[in-house]
């Protein structure tokens, strides 16, 4: 009886929207140009446009959700959302926990940036966002790794002099360096391109998005999007 009441209540709450299959897309919302919150507080950026287009092609209804980077994979596997589309590079370690689609960017350069040239990135203190390919890379060099939960804090740490340099995706640092204050001091190639991540048990859904990405590559619309958001590398 209780269950009946409960299910009726849930049905009543969700009546009318239950028709189409809804896919919840998880993103970080703090990583321009890939994903960020615009002035209206909505998710915006390259991945917002890409995701909306992919959902249209896969004939799915999509809903955007933001989540902290640190817990973005655990919250996917526990089912809070169905896909991660958050500038996440395809790596072997992550593949042990989640499944990726094919990459929708080329393997892109990461770059070191500092207040001035002449920083030795193999011995200096280098900031990187925690649980990223960049922090993994810094740990393998002789540099002192200083981790931060958000990309913005890594840049703030360089500007305040807390660390000597920051290692991040070059596409993320480009507009920051262009505004002045920081200079690039070197590139390094990491990761295997950026892809969407799905639960391992969700092969169907992953297939749909994989096909949609392939079709966007084929008709050149993906390249147009990459151009629009000034992200390096084309297909």
């Amino acid at each position: 009886m209780k269950n009946l009441i409960l299910s009726t209540a849930v049905l009543a709450l969700t009546a009318g929207v239950a028709a189409a299959e809804t896919v919840r897309l998880g993103t970080e919302g703090a990583y321009p140009p890939y994903n960020f919150l615009n002035d209206a507080g909505e998710v915006d950026g390259f991945e917002r446009e890409l995701g909306d287009e992919l959902c249209k092609r896969a004939e799915l209804t999509c809903e955007w959700v933001t989540n902290d980077w640190d817990s973005i994979i655990p919250n996917l596997t526990s089912g809070n959302y169905d896909a991660i589309i958050a500038g996440m590079s395809i790596t072997d370690e992550r593949k042990e926990v989640v499944d990726f689609t094919q990459g929708y960017t080329q393997p892109s350069p990461s770059a070191y940036a500092a207040l001035a040239e002449g920083v030795d990135v193999n011995s200096a203190a280098v900031a990187a966002q925690s649980s990223t390919i960049q922090s993994g890379h810094v740990a393998t060099t002789g540099a002192t790794l200083v981790e931060f939960p958000t990309p913005d804090e890594t840049v703030a740490a360089v500007k305040s002099g807390e660390v000597d340099a920051v290692l991040s995706d070059k596409d993320y640092l480009n507009p920051i360096v262009a505004e002045g204050g920081l200079v690039f001091i070197g590139d390094v190639y990491l990761g295997g391109g950026i892809g969407m991540a799905f639960r391992k048990s969700d092969a169907d859904l992953r297939g749909k998005f994989d096909a949609a990405i392939a079709s966007m590559k084929a008709d050149g619309s993906l390249n147009a999007l990459l151009d629009k958001w000034e992200i390096e590398g084309k297909f």
Partner: protein, 267 residues
């Protein structure tokens, strides 16, 4: 905009959590002093376990456990034919109609659900502390009061509701006001639970913005946003202190405490 709404979120959390955790505490204390042994163990166990675990560990554990527990129950009821295992590696998989809330629900329902889980967790944690305070307060009411009640022929139940409960509040108040202050200061834990509260927005809005992605570019303003939060919390606790002071005065009236005695002499 989200920033201003989030102040409402925090105030709503306080408004809902305070009475709920007080009632949790009241039942906990009632159970703890019950004459029926298993009930008393239950009350004492609840108070001891929750009080003994760090808040943050409890928050992180309980929200996930509660969510998965609810989904597991719904799953057993709605999809009895489901044969796949629920735990597949690190994946937690339940059938679509057992998702809580449903995948197809609009985002605000997800937010309300997340918020309710947070409130429930807050209530359980602070309920245990309130339970301990009330338990102590019930034992602080002078024994003579109860004896007199019994001498007048009141039953155990009558003595509890008519004599003990009205008088215990003055003994509970210092502890409860302390709890209220701690609760106010614990609200930023919402941020840990993924609710977009004022700390989340202060960090998001204070982060430096480049001109390409916003109409209002600025540098790192987090310090100023957090300073504003500091002032907000300070002002809020100050107001609380004033209100609690008045309640103490009112409750002391006619009580056999130092405060009550001072009021009697002044009159």
């Amino acid at each position: 905009m989200g920033f201003y709404v989030s102040f409402g979120t925090v105030l709503l959390l306080l408004a809902v959590t305070a009475p709920v955790s007080l009632s949790f505490g009241f039942f906990g204390a009632m159970a703890a002093r019950a004459r029926f042994a298993p009930l008393s163990w239950l009350g004492k166990g609840y108070i001891a376990i929750v009080r003994g675990v760090p808040d943050i560990a409890f928050f992180l554990f309980f929200v996930i456990a509660l969510d998965q527990g609810i989904e597991y129950l719904l799953h057993s009821v709605r999809c009895p034919d489901w044969t796949d295992p629920i735990r597949q590696g690190s994946d937690f998989v339940v059938c679509d109609s057992a998702k809580m809330p449903l995948n197809s629900s609009p985002q605000w329902i997800h937010e309300v659900y997340g918020f309710s889980l947070a409130v429930l967790t807050f209530a359980i944690v602070f309920g245990a502390f309130a339970g301990n305070v009330l338990f102590g307060a019930m034992n602080s009411v002078p024994r003579g009061q109860i004896e007199t009640a019994e001498a007048y022929g009141m039953t155990h139940r009558q003595a509890f509701w008519r004599i003990l409960v009205p008088q215990m509040w003055i003994y509970a108040l210092p502890g409860l006001s302390n709890l209220w202050m701690v609760l106010i200061k614990a609200t930023p834990l919402l941020f840990l639970l993924g609710v977009e509260d004022i700390v989340y927005w202060a960090r998001e809005l204070g982060a430096s913005k480049t001109a390409r992605f916003t109409d209002y570019p600025h540098g790192d303003w987090r310090m100023w946003y957090f300073l504003a939060l500091l002032i907000f919390y300070l002002a809020f606790t100050k107001v609380s202190e004033v209100v609690l002071e008045r309640i103490t005065k009112k409750l002391s009236h006619g009580q056999a405490t130092v405060g009550g005695e001072a009021q009697r002499k002044a009159a």
